[in-house]
């Protein structure tokens, strides 16, 4: 595999790692690396000047046609989301500009993107492959989770803990502690 094609897969890998790092939860400390990794991935993908062989060449040509619509439409969706009514407040500049951008983005889609001949077949059967993979993943996670033995029930609260909890609840419901 030549350098240009290798860089395409490196970009793809960095994009996936970036999205994985942005996950909330116990791994949240890694989320600060998410956006830089995604940006490096995008730059590698679209500013790769090395010669590329097939099948990556075909992929990159499709991505070049698809990317203008994708980024513009995503920007429009973001603006609409930030302008939509939240607690009865509507941000009209974001909302209106977002909808204009979304509608305009479809011009980019039909102007630059070239749909493959059997695009519906591609969509349906790729979705089928993805669903099969997700089904396998759910089965595997279920299998692993079922193998973990149940933990013993938690011990009863100590006198000190009981007093502490009573105090917190009393303060929260506005009742004097007796």
């Amino acid at each position: 595999m030549i350098l240009g094609s290798t860089l395409i897969w490196l970009a793809f890998f960095l994009l996936l790692v970036g999205f994985s790092f942005s996950r909330m939860g116990p791994s949240f400390t890694r989320s600060k690396f998410s956006i830089p990794l995604i940006l490096i991935g995008i730059l590698l993908l679209f500013f790769n000047n090395f010669s590329i062989e097939n099948p990556e060449k075909e992929l990159l040509e499709s991505l070049h046609g698809f990317a203008p619509w994708f980024f513009v439409c995503s920007l429009g969706c973001y603006l609409v989301l930030s302008g939509s009514p939240i607690y009865w407040k509507v941000q009209f500049p974001q909302l209106i500009s977002g909808w204009i951008i979304i509608l305009g983005s479809f011009y980019l889609y039909f102007e630059f993107n070239e749909l493959p001949d059997n695009f519906l077949i591609g969509a349906i059967f790729t979705a089928l492959g993805v669903i099969l993979s997700l089904f396998l993943f759910i089965l595997l996670v279920r299998f692993v989770e079922n193998r973990i033995p149940l933990e013993d029930s938690a011990p009863e609260l100590t006198e000190e803990e009981m007093n502490f909890v009573t105090k917190i609840i009393s303060i929260n419901i506005g009742v004097d502690e007796k």
Partner: protein
């Protein structure tokens, strides 16, 4: 084999390999003390290998397993590129509903002040 049937199989295996590889990367790079990814990652890797073997046997142009994985990933991403606009149209429908929704003011919010 019929070329349309072959194309369908390439798309199915492409989507399958793409999603499995993405999930493997996701599990490894979002690792935390409560996750147990060993069994899923090993089984998914085996499935990717088997799928690549099948694709390699179906396509005479592919010489190695690595070529089969590259080819399948490209097919999967190309298929996914076609799916994304449909997902966006669904999202735009919900955005449209969110943009123009009208809710009655909740008196409870006033009562709390």
């Amino acid at each position: 084999m019929n070329s349309l049937l072959l194309e369908i199989l390439y798309y199915i295996f492409g989507g399958f390999i793409l999603a499995n590889l993405s999930l493997i990367i996701f599990q490894l790079f979002s690792l935390h003390p409560y996750s147990k990814p060993t069994i899923p990652v090993v089984v998914q890797s085996i499935f990717i290998f088997i799928s690549a073997l099948v694709v390699n046997s179906l396509n005479d142009d592919l010489e190695t397993i690595a070529d089969a994985i590259r080819f399948s990933l490209v097919e999967g991403i190309l298929g996914f590129i076609v799916i994304i606009p449909f997902l966006y149209i669904l999202m735009i429908y919900f955005l449209f509903k969110a943009s123009f929704r009208k809710r009655h003011f909740d008196d409870l919010l006033d009562a709390s002040e």
